[in-house]
């Protein structure tokens, strides 16, 4: 009953559609940013959107989403450009260049924001909402603009799929094939700026970088092809957008943007731990299984090669565990109390196998 009411709620519909659009665009484009090691560039671009928002407000005098998008796109791209120039032409390293750009543009943005707040313009109320996003204020007309940007960006990506993929993997090689690699790289960066612009209303400039990086990072764990990675990233983006929006609507008063980001981050953590093949848990498990297997073989080998040798008093815990395990599996017997371990017939056979493989490897 509550759900039906929720689904027919106008604001909730807007928020959910907006969040889905954001996930749809930021996931795939974030993949390229992450694979090109430009995750933080998204952060710089999104922080640099703030002065654009303010400038557009100063010029147009309204909070119309079109103007704000153009403004933030302009300053965001400018920041990316300055960052690239700084790292290419000066001795600044990429991280330092990013840091300089990010804080410079964000500081200018905050100064402009306080300047606008100082002027008594009635329409300025809530401009600071772009810092952390204000999902509930999303209008139907905003959604059309966001949808349009998403559609154009994704179709562009589909059309130049080959180029985007090769330039991301190996830009120099792409250049030798005659591709305008620099232009394609610039376009991919500009597209990240577009994704940021779509997310301004939902999650705001400060947390937007998470929406670029998190779905891509999660998707990389589960995918074997670039195409699947993009699809999964879009899925993760949409799921976190929708669930973040839902949680925030159900528990009144909690900010939507940060909840979306938190959901996305939770998915990243789960993926890092659990993804088959790449997940940390599997890695740890595999490590211990292999170690146990090796220890088992090594013990069998030793007992077979040096049967007369009495067991040392101080066995390590892992050795004792392995001995107990081997006994349970029927490979070992323990005669005369504590000290003497002996191989059973099956143990002998198993040990011969181990010895044979060892002798095969190291003659």
């Amino acid at each position: 009953m509550q759900w039906l009411e929720l689904l027919s709620d106008y604001t909730f519909q807007n928020v959910v559609i907006g969040a889905s659009l954001l996930g749809l665009i930021s996931g795939p484009l974030g993949c390229f940013a992450v694979l090109r090691r430009q995750s933080l560039l998204g952060d710089a671009i999104s922080h640099a959107a703030l002065p654009g928002i303010c400038l557009s407000f100063i010029i147009t005098g309204s909070r119309d989403i079109g103007g704000i998008m153009i403004g933030s796109l302009a300053t965001g791209s400018l920041a990316a450009l300055i960052m690239l120039l700084l790292t290419r032409k000066s001795r600044l390293k990429t991280d330092a260049g990013l840091g300089v750009c990010l804080s410079l543009f964000f500081a200018v943005g905050i100064v402009l924001l306080t300047y606008i707040q100082g002027t008594s313009n009635a329409a300025q109320g809530g401009l600071e909402a772009f810092l952390f996003g204000q999902a509930a204020a999303t209008l139907r007309s905003d959604l059309w603009v966001m949808g349009g940007v998403t559609l154009v960006t994704l179709s562009l990506l589909a059309a130049f799929w080959k180029q985007a993929k090769l330039v991301t993997f190996d830009a120099e090689y792409a250049r030798t094939l005659g591709m305008p690699a620099t232009a394609i790289e610039a376009t991919l960066t500009a597209m990240v700026a577009l994704a940021v612009v779509v997310g301004l209303q939902m999650v705001g400039v400060i947390l937007m970088a998470a929406m670029i990086v998190a779905p891509a990072a999660a998707a990389r764990q589960w995918s074997r092809h670039l195409g699947t990675m993009l699809a999964i990233a879009a899925g993760v983006g949409i799921v976190s957008g929708v669930s973040g929006a839902t949680i925030s609507t159900l528990s009144r008063g909690l900010a939507t943007g940060p909840l979306i980001v938190l959901t996305a981050t939770a998915i990243v953590l789960l993926s890092l731990a659990l993804a088959p093949g790449r997940g940390l848990l599997w890695g740890i498990m595999k490590h211990y299984l292999q170690k146990a297997e090796l220890q088992k073989r090594q013990l069998l080998y030793t007992l077979y090669k040096h049967p007369a040798r009495p067991a040392s008093r101080r066995l390590s815990l892992s050795a004792r565990l392995t001995l107990a395990l081997l006994k349970r599996q029927g490979y070992l017997t323990r005669s005369q109390g504590e000290a003497d371990w002996g191989l059973t017939t099956t143990g002998q056979a198993k040990a011969r196998q181990v010895v044979a493989t060892f002798e095969e490897v190291a003659p």
């Binding site: 694979l35 090691r37 059309a159 130049f160 799929w161 080959k162 180029q163 993929k165 090769l166 991301t168 993997f169 190996d170 120099e172 090689y173 792409a174 250049r175 030798t176 094939l177 005659g178 591709m179 990389r220 995918s223 074997r224 092809h225 670039l226 699947t228 990675m229």
Partner: protein, 260 residues
């Protein structure tokens, strides 16, 4: 066919100078590499071997100079040139398969919008087969060994069906089997009339691998037939006396592969 190829150089470089900031990396390179040879580029670290290849391919801007591939400027001859970059130049954790990487070699031919189809996949499989990697075609590239990754890169260049191949240290950090396999493939290509230009760092094998040689240290120290170039005086000039040599005057034996 062979006579015309031997008359016209596969690669000719005139007055090539490349600088990095204001430090010259390559100084006034003049060079003709005949067609159908396996040419080695040898020199100490920082001699500009990789930079030479990259500037020929237009990846590094040059101050001056002209590069002709089979008599025409490189830009007009892109399709006749294949490139095998250093293995370490890309991130191998990219989500893709060996076959897919090889297919990338055909992207230039496909033009802007055409997608690789069955025919392209077949060609890529054939190239993988040539480097004995067809069984690993669908393996993630991050799960390949260094030698296998190098073979994938070689296959990606093979699929281009070029006439002139540039290879940047293809033997760096690969196992002995792969080195053998790569050399065999390169020799086969040379015997088919292709020109191979290989940056190489292992002086021990230079004499056996190459039939044409460029000794480089910012300037051209010596170039020409490997037999004439691979001489102690030239090497000493290129490597600046730090070279340790054993054995008698002409048969050069080096104590280790890493001569700095």
């Amino acid at each position: 066919m062979v006579t015309s190829a031997s008359a016209e150089p596969a690669l000719s470089i005139n007055n090539l100078t490349v600088s990095y900031h204001n430090q010259p990396v390559l100084w006034d390179i003049n060079l003709d590499i005949p067609a159908g040879v396996m040419a080695g580029i040898v020199g100490p670290n920082g001699a500009g071997k990789s930079t030479l290849i990259k500037s020929l391919l237009g990846l590094v801007p040059s101050l001056s100079g002209e590069v002709l591939v089979h008599g025409k400027p490189y830009a007009a001859q892109r399709k006749r040139v294949g490139y095998v970059p250093q293995r370490s130049s890309v991130d191998w954790d990219f989500p893709t398969t060996a076959l897919d990487v090889v297919t990338m070699g055909l992207y230039g031919r496909l033009g802007w919008f055409k997608r690789p189809g069955r025919r392209e996949r077949k060609e890529a499989m054939d190239a993988l087969d040539m480097v004995s990697m067809s069984e690993l075609a669908h393996r993630q590239i991050s799960q390949l060994s260094g030698g296998q990754q190098q073979r994938v890169f070689l296959a990606r260049a093979l699929v281009q069906q070029a006439d002139v191949y540039f290879l940047d240290e293809p033997m760096a950090g690969v196992d002995a089997t792969t080195e053998r396999a790569i050399i065999d493939i390169l020799r086969r290509l040379r015997d088919a009339g292709k020109t191979l230009i290989v940056v190489h760092h292992d002086l021990q094998t230079v004499g056996t691998y190459f039939d044409w040689l460029l000794l480089l240290n910012v300037r051209v120290i010596a170039s020409g037939d490997a037999k004439d170039v691979f001489k102690i005086d030239n090497l000493r000039q290129a490597y600046g006396g730090q070279i340790a040599l054993l054995g008698d005057h002409e048969s050069l034996t080096f104590p280790a592969s890493k001569v700095t």
